[in-house]
Structure formats: structure tokens, C-alpha cells
């Protein structure tokens, strides 16, 4: 669905932000992109809806070369929610913010009304429908950006640091949405530092460092590789550290607290 072929991107200032990237994202995949600040994660994401075009190489989205497409037409299929909500929000009210994309993509009046209503309710923003987005808290702004993109139902959803400023309940809600989208065959790409959030979803994990992809493998392989973690400035999820300290054994991991519970109850006889 999205294909990077030997993509290099050099910033106007001369910095090489992406260095010969070749990678594919398929339908129905959950992919996490991790790595240090400045590794090139956001630059990579900006190529997915054509906001940036490669200096060298090609990016194809559903078969179309992004240099031949507008950002608007690419966005219809690849919805990106950026890290800084303030750069994304511009409407006078919360409701209009969600409507904007839907109207631009030519949905009928009824569908627009229905989708806006659904999105605001789902993200607990309906009581702010007529409020200015600038009056919202950081966490609420983030949810509004997500609501606005999900409302037009793109095939690929790209979320850049979606958990920043979100409390546990909203993170749980976000995880539910991601799982729901995956069951619908959508592709979800997450850029995140929030290891504890990513771990239970066991995504395919792409590790970036200095503009290159240094690993592309299942989460269970990335987060048990000490030298890779150090190189990418990552730390282990608590459950990985626990499994190692309990000597759970080769290749076996606790992907969530329930598998950990089962393993412990099978082996330990507690007082």
C-alpha cells in the first residue's frame, strides 16, 4: 500500500534526514516506528501523504508516485495525525474542525453530520462542539485531531506520538480504536516513544537511527535486543525486564500482564 524505494531526503538546510530508505507497509498491518529524537521518524511519516517528496528515490501510495499526486488526494487514503496539534487545528469551532476534511472530500450533508456526531461522541468532545479548538487542553486537542482524521475513514492511519498528554483511560480508548481499525483491515502506523503503550499490541517494529532503518522485526525481537535498544535510545518494557529476571526462557515473552500472570501461577506456589 505504501512503498518507499531507496528514498533519501535532504532538508533545504542541507541535513540528510532520510538516508536510502526502502520499506513497504501492507494492508492490515500494525507498524510501530521507534528511535531517538531526530532519527527521521516524522520525516518518514511526512512522505506518506506527500507533504514531503523524496530528494532521491520514490514513494508510492496505493501504486501512485507521490510526486504526481496532491496532498489532499493522498490524505483521503492516508490520514496523518501529527505530533503538534496546534499545527493541525485551525477552525473556529471543534465541530467545524471535524467537518472541514469531510466537506473537502465531497461527502453529502447527511454523512458529514452523522460522521461529525460520531467522531465527537467517540472522543468525548461533544460538549465542546461549539467551542474554539484553542480553548481545549493538550490532550483534548490531540483527540480532536484524531477525530477529524478518523471521520473521513482513511485506509491507512498514521499517528505521530498519539499518547502524549493522554491519561490512561484515553490511551486504553486509543488502543481499542487501533484494534478495531485492524479488524476492519486498515493499516495503522504509530510513531511513538511510549514503549509501555506499544508493547501489548506487539506491532511490527521499525527502528530508526540517523535517517536509516536499523531494524524491522517483531516487537518481541526488538525489545529483547540489548545492543539495538541502546543504539536507538530505547529502554525495555517492564514486562520484558520481568520475563528476563524470571528466566522465562529463550524467545518467550510476556506480551501482557495476563500472560505473565498465567506463567507465574503455573510455576510459583505462593504463600
Amino acid at each position: 500500500m505504501i512503498e518507499f524505494n531507496s528514498v533519501t531526503y535532504i532538508h533545504p538546510a542541507g541535513v540528510k534526514a532520510l538516508d536510502d530508505i526502502t520499506v513497504k507497509f501492507g494492508q492490515g498491518e500494525l507498524v510501530a516506528i521507534v528511535g531517538a529524537n531526530g532519527a527521521g521518524k516524522t520525516t518518514l511519516v511526512k512522505h506518506m501523504n506527500g507533504l514531503l517528496k523524496p530528494t532521491k528515490g520514490t514513494v508510492k501510495v496505493f501504486g501512485y508516485d507521490t510526486t504526481q499526486q496532491t496532498v489532499a488526494s493522498l490524505s483521503r487514503r492516508v490520514g496523518v495525525v501529527f505530533q503538534n496539534s496546534d499545527h493541525q487545528l485551525f477552525s473556529d469551532t471543534v465541530e467545524h474542525e471535524v467537518e472541514f476534511g469531510l466537506r473537502n472530500f465531497g461527502f453529502s450533508h447527511e454523512v458529514v453530520k452523522q460522521r461529525v456526531d460520531w467522531a465527537l461522541r467517540f472522543f468525548g468532545l461533544n460538549e465542546y462542539a461549539t467551542t474554539s479548538p484553542m480553548m481545549l487542553s493538550g490532550g483534548e486537542k490531540k483527540r480532536l485531531c484524531l477525530a477529524a482524521v478518523l471521520a473521513w475513514d482513511p485506509d491507512v492511519l498514521v499517528l505521530d506520538e498519539p499518547t502524549v498528554g493522554q491519561d490512561l483511560l484515553n490511551k486504553e480508548k486509543l488502543e481499542q480504536i487501533i484494534r478495531l481499525l485492524l479488524t476492519q483491515g486498515k493499516t495503522v502506523i504509530l510513531v511513538s516513544h511510549d514503549i509501555e503503550f506499544l508493547w501489548p499490541m506487539q506491532p511490527r517494529t521499525i527502528v530508526m537511527s540517523r535517517g536509516k532503518i536499523i531494524a524491522d522485526k517483531p516487537a518481541s525481537k526488538v525489545f529483547t535486543d540489548d545492543s539495538l535498544l541502546a543504539e536507538a535510545r530505547l529502554i525495555k518494557p517492564q514486562l520484558v525486564e520481568l520475563a528476563q529476571r524470571l528466566n522465562v526462557g529463550d524467545g518467550e515473552v510476556f506480551d501482557n500482564i495476563y500472560t505473565a500472570k498465567k506463567w507465574i501461577l503455573d510455576r510459583f506456589r505462593c504463600a
Binding site: G35, G38, N170, R233, I257, C270, A271
Partner: protein, 280 residues
């Protein structure tokens, strides 16, 4: 222990808002504590911080009932700039805070505003730069440094004012995991060497609980829990409030009918230690 922060019967209702943001809050924090404030979005955390650094009532209008004392000063009776000498506030996004054309100039900015003599400013900037380990970037522009370094510059700028209290609003949320861990280690070190009182607002507790003396949990404008972190996290009802309880603690709650642990484990190593004890 002298109280560095003392809040008594405090209610604040923003002008034009349908309900109070804080209701009858009572809180005292000892000099030299590290306290975490946690709670779901909209629980009143930001309002509480604004009441401590004086933005409330001096910048935000509303109904103000009760008393807030910082280092024995009644916040409502002192200007924001006076309070700023006692309370250093580091924003979530350091880009909202650092703006000068070099790191060094940025750290000097607050001191120039205090009207300090040139020599004193130079001395304090030097001191803060070494304290945060940012000498090698002191001549760079803020846009040339990493996010973790920006966070350090913001902290240096605040500490140069020599406050007694350091407030950090979600300081790690924009940092990669290792930089987040480094920052927390630095905060602990600053606390130990400068005898600071540190207040951190954070959703994620996994990296922070082991260095904190106190965990304050808020919900709907009230403090619902306020104690040593291990005591607070013992209560598994916290999960339904929306606090980012570490996975290790959640696992321990799952096992509560099967295993009796002497202490609540906060980290994987404590967990393994506890379960080995429980087995004997």
C-alpha cells in the same frame, strides 16, 4: 518538617466555567520532597500548578476561596514575579519556554529580568550550565539542539533563579525513553544536591515512582489520594480513575488472590524479589 507548600480549604472556579476546577483542596508538602501529581485529563492538575506559581489568581480570574502559601508567602498577596523567585516552572514543551538565539543567553534571560548585576548573572549562568551538563552546547541556538537538551536548557534557566521549588509539567512526554530516564536521574540529582522540593505532573508513573516521596492523585478537582507512592498504588481502584499505573503494579493486583507480597513491588526487580519471598 517545615511546610514549603500549604494549601488550605482551596476552591477555584474559573470565571465563566460551569463548575469549579478545584474543590476544597487541602495539601501540605514538606521542604525537600519529590511529589508526583497524577490524575486523568481535566482533573485539576494544571489549575493546582497555576495556583502554586501565582498565575491563579493574578492572571486567571475567578472565584478564589481558601489559602495557598508558598514558602510562607500567601500567593494571592504577592506578585507573580515575586513568587517566581521561589517557584521555578518548566513547561511540558520546552519550545514554549526557550526562545533566545543562544542557550547561554536563554539561561540569562530570567536573571536579567530580575535586575541582577552582570557579574552575578554570569556566575549563575555558569553554575546552571555546569549543573545540567550543557556546557558543550552553550553557544548553540535552541533549534540546533535535541529535545532532551532543550528540556535541560529550560530547567537550567529556571534553576538559575535559585528557586526552592521546581515544578515540571510532564517533562518526559516528548523525550525518547533513554533521554526520559536520563532526565529523571538528573532531576533526582538536582533534588539531592540543591535540596529542592520537586513537583512533577505526569501521566506515566513507571519511571518516576521509585524516586518519589509522595504521590498525589486527583479526580474531578479533588485530591483523592495523597501518600507515599507504594501506599497509594496499593489501591487497585486507581486503575478506574485513569492513572497510568505501571504494568508491574497492575500485575501484582492481578495476582492478589494467589500471592501475598510483603511490599508492593514498583519495578521488575522488586517484583522478582517479592515473589521469591512469597514462595518460601
Amino acid at each position: 518538617m517545615p511546610k514549603i507548600i500549604e494549601i488550605k480549604g482551596f476552591t477555584f472556579h474559573y470565571a465563566g466555567s460551569p463548575r469549579p476546577a478545584l474543590t476544597d483542596v487541602n495539601l501540605s508538602i514538606d521542604d525537600g520532597e519529590i511529589a508526583i501529581i497524577a490524575g486523568p485529563s481535566g482533573c485539576g492538575k494544571s489549575t493546582l500548578l497555576r495556583s502554586i506559581n501565582g498565575l491563579i489568581p493574578h492572571m486567571y480570574s475567578g472565584t478564589y476561596i481558601g489559602e495557598v502559601y508558598i514558602n510562607n508567602l500567601k500567593v494571592s498577596e504577592h506578585t507573580i514575579s515575586e513568587i517566581a523567585k521561589h517557584v521555578g516552572y518548566v513547561f511540558q514543551n520546552p519550545e514554549n519556554q526557550i526562545f533566545m538565539f543562544s542557550v547561554e543567553r536563554d539561561i540569562a534571560f530570567g536573571l536579567e529580568n530580575l535586575g541582577l548585576p552582570r557579574e552575578e548573572i554570569k556566575k549563575r549562568v555558569d553554575w546552571a550550565i555546569d549543573l545540567l551538563g550543557i556546557r558543550e552546547i552553550m553557544h548553540r541556538a535552541p533549534h540546533e539542539i535535541s529535545d532532551g537538551q532543550k528540556q535541560r536548557v529550560a530547567i537550567a534557566g529556571v534553576l538559575a533563579m535559585k528557586p526552592k521549588i521546581l515544578i515540571l509539567d510532564e517533562p518526559t512526554s516528548l523525550l525518547d525513553p533513554l533521554s526520559a530516564l536520563d532526565l529523571i536521574t538528573t532531576v533526582k540529582h538536582l533534588h539531592d544536591t540543591l535540596k529542592l522540593t520537586v513537583i512533577v505532573v505526569e501521566h506515566r508513573l513507571d519511571l518516576l515512582v521509585s524516586i518519589a516521596d509522595r504521590l498525589i492523585v486527583m479526580e474531578d478537582g479533588k485530591i483523592i489520594s495523597n501518600n507515599e507512592p507504594r501506599e497509594v498504588l496499593k489501591d487497585d481502584r486507581l486503575l478506574t480513575v485513569g492513572v497510568g499505573v505501571p504494568s508491574i503494579v497492575r500485575l501484582r493486583h492481578l495476582l492478589k488472590d494467589a500471592c501475598i507480597f510483603k511490599h508492593l513491588p514498583l519495578t521488575p526487580s522488586e517484583f522478582v524479589e517479592q515473589i521469591n519471598v512469597a514462595q518460601r
